[in-house]
Amino acid sequence: MIAIINYGLGNISAFANVYKRLNIPVTIATRREDLKNSEKIILPGVGAFDHAMTLLQKSGMRETLDELVLEKKIPVIGICVGMQILANSSEEGVLPGLGWIDGVVKKFDSLLIKHKTRLPHMGWNTIKPLNGNGLFASLPEDPRFYFLHSYYFHCNNEVNTVANTQYGIEFASAVNSENIYGVQFHPEKSHENGIHVLNNFANLNYVIS
């Protein structure tokens, strides 16, 4: 069963609706007990870094998540700020992140953006999947997704960047390390391409090496 973490951020029902359309059962987890039978985890998010970390701590699910993800190696995907909190820290806040993928979250440097800079990065942008990551299997060419953010994930290990996107600079629009995934865009709000990615995530077979 896929567990959608409900810690008060992000569009839980939008994910649930997408999976309902795909006939894939999901459960919405608000307490640690709800995570018992989960085989995959979605960590949604919209909002500020510290607010997300504070709410996740308050949910009482943090320890169980650490155990499921780091020890049992259950596949997890963080969305938007849910991706950013996978990092060690963020320039947006002072709280430490989950530290599941080695990296830091940085603010876009507006001086590097061509023409007149507009932040936040808002709207539909293309992504370039790298190294044939399974999350992006059989998408159309130059797939577009919806972005809404001013900060981006900087991976300390380049190999963890599995898709990139141009906005002034080339930044990591998706990250992956072992069973841990993150996407900066909103697949739950990206029409067919987004549904496709969420379906790919549901069908991923992570083999513990």
Binding site: G8, L9, G10, N11, I12, S13, A14, N17, V18, V46, G47, A48, H51, V81, E92, S110, H115, K116, T117, R118, L119, P120, H121, M122, G123, W124, N125, T126, R144, Y146, F147, L148, H149, S150, Q166, Y167, H186, E188, K189, H191, E192, G194, I195
Partner: protein, 259 residues
């Protein structure tokens, strides 16, 4: 590559969808959830829903309606109407709305912009400025409460202030052009566009896809919103929810978007 956004803007009045002309004469055009379902199928870039009763009636946002809309939307949703406090913004956010639009309260208490941004991140705090040209003058002023109260504030100065306070986007809505379908107020847009470095969306006046194309040609990456254009069809304004299909949209963008 980032693309311009083409956004239907829906107004809610007495729980139904309406379309106004110059902020008056609301005409019933259908059911909000039903409209969202149609716009899902049409794969719109974003959608904006404004409850035009909430602030005027000085009541709370209709959380149940917002929750239903957010659950239905397969595209990003911007909600506006009746938001006055950080707590309300927080609650709406937790219902799954990506962007929160405020207007009258931002003019009464601009510091709220900053306080909401701290909670939900500045990318999600959207300021809507309903703007009207002053009679016998080239000046513009911001109005609130469905164009019944004149704040006397200059939209350009206020937009700059919003940016400094951490807003994520400015939506400029022309009261004079609302529902008229004769094109956007380009003079107004020109004034503000280059003075802020936030994303900007313009609303009010679109009568054809050419009006949208014209804006994209002139401004590149911009949010182009419309109400009447996407709910009416033909010169007798028959109610018909519509939006350019994938091919029409691609050709509209590729013909006008110079990057």
């Amino acid at each position: 590559m980032l693309f311009p956004r083409i956004i239907p803007c829906l107004l809610v009045h007495n729980k139904g969808l309406v379309k106004t002309v110059k902020f008056k004469d609301p005409k019933y055009v259908g059911d909000p959830i039903n409209a969202v379902k149609i716009f899902n199928e049409k794969e719109v870039d974003e959608i904006m829903v404004v409850d035009i009763d909430a602030s005027r009636e000085n009541r709370e946002p209709d959380y149940k309606m917002i929750e239903n809309l957010a659950a239905e939307c397969r595209m990003p949703l911007c909600y506006g109407g009746g938001i006055k406090t950080v707590e309300q913004a927080d609650r709406i956010f937790s219902l799954g709305v990506e962007k929160i639009a405020i207007s009258s309260i931002a003019l009464e208490d601009p510091t709220l912009i900053n306080r909401i941004a701290e909670r939900v991140g500045n990318q999600s705090v959207i300021i809507v400025l309903d703007v009207k040209k002053k009679s016998f003058s080239s000046k513009y002023e911001i109005w609130t409460h469905n164009a019944t109260k004149n704040t006397g504030k200059d939209p350009l100065e206020f937009a700059k202030q919003c940016e400094a306070l951490g807003a994520g986007e400015i939506i400029i809505n022309s009261i004079d052009h609302d529902g008229v379908m004769k094109g956007y107020d380009l003079t107004l847009i020109d004034k503000i566009r280059e003075s802020i470095s936030l994303p900007m969306t313009v609303l009010g006046g679109a009568g054809s896809l050419d009006d949208i194309g014209g804006l994209i040609k002139k401004y590149g990456i911009i949010g182009v919103a419309a109400g009447s254009l996407f709910v009416f069809k033909g010169k007798y304004k028959a109610v018909l929810i519509n939006y350019p299909n994938r091919i029409e949209k691609e050709s509209l963008i590729s013909a006008n978007f110079l990057y």
